[in-house]
Amino acid sequence: MKLAYFAWVRERIGLAEEEVELPAGVVTVEDLLRWLKGRGETYDAALQAPEIIRVAIDQEHVDHSEPLAGAKEVAIFPPMTGG
């Protein structure tokens, strides 16, 4: 699965995107954020407050309860500030 990061999530992790193999038990967006947060200091810094993080699966906004099954690209980013 491809993960894409934007804005300060991208900066703190130090990557714009990466391919990952999800371990068993990572079923929802919430699981994914918890798993990522445990992958190291940079991930921990980016995902300190997972409740404010926004997620899109294949370019559509989703809640943290959304299952990841079938997702090709999951984007993880801060609240949007365009306009």
Binding site: A4, F6, A7, W8, A56, Q59, E60, H61, A75, F77, P78, P79, M80, T81, G82, G83
Partner: protein, 168 residues
């Protein structure tokens, strides 16, 4: 687009026009966008909104707009479709810039046309509220002293402005 049989008869018809959606780094030429929207005799109202980059009291050299290519266009198109399903619009355009934007330059333009002013005013406001909260763009400040400042924080007032449409 075919009419859905489950649509209540009072709802606006499916879009009779293709909204103009653009995500670009170049300057936005308002007249070039608005001209084609207003040529027809059926248009009685045009409402445009342009959002500009402020200098924040002389502190700011530029705003840097990061975006998620693909999703940005897709989400803006969805917002425009929502607007067209809520109001009787004759046309609409939504253009958002990315990259470095200097104070005084435009960041975003929305334009809506309708037969009467109410629909165009409300739809333009709706489009802007959701462009701010659903379109994947992020602003970062570049300061006059040459440093790169922080990411602009999302404002609760923007979320509240978008939420109010759910209560109408």
């Amino acid at each position: 687009m075919a009419n859905e049989t489950n649509e209540p008869p009072t709802s606006p018809p499916d879009m009779a026009f293709e909204p103009l959606i653009r995500v670009q780094s170049e300057r936005i030429v308002t007249d070039a966008v608005v001209g084609p929207l207003t040529g027809s005799g059926s248009v009685g109202a045009l409402v445009t909104f342009t959002g500009y980059c402020r200098d924040e009291g002389g502190r700011l050299k530029a705003l840097e707009l990061e975006h998620y290519p693909g999703m940005a266009e897709r989400q803006i198109a969805k917002i425009a479709q929502d607007a067209a399903s809520r109001w009787h619009l004759l046309g609409c355009a939504a253009i958002h810039r990315y990259g470095l934007i200097a104070p005084g330059e435009e960041i975003v333009l929305v334009a809506c046309t309708s037969a009467h002013r109410g629909a165009a005013f409300e739809a333009a406001s709706f489009l802007m509220d959701f462009m701010k909260t659903r379109a994947p763009f992020w602003k970062r400040e570049h300061l006059v002293d040459g440093s790169v400042g922080g990411w602009v924080e999302a404002r609760d007032t923007d979320t509240a402005a978008a939420d109010r449409w759910h209560r109408l």
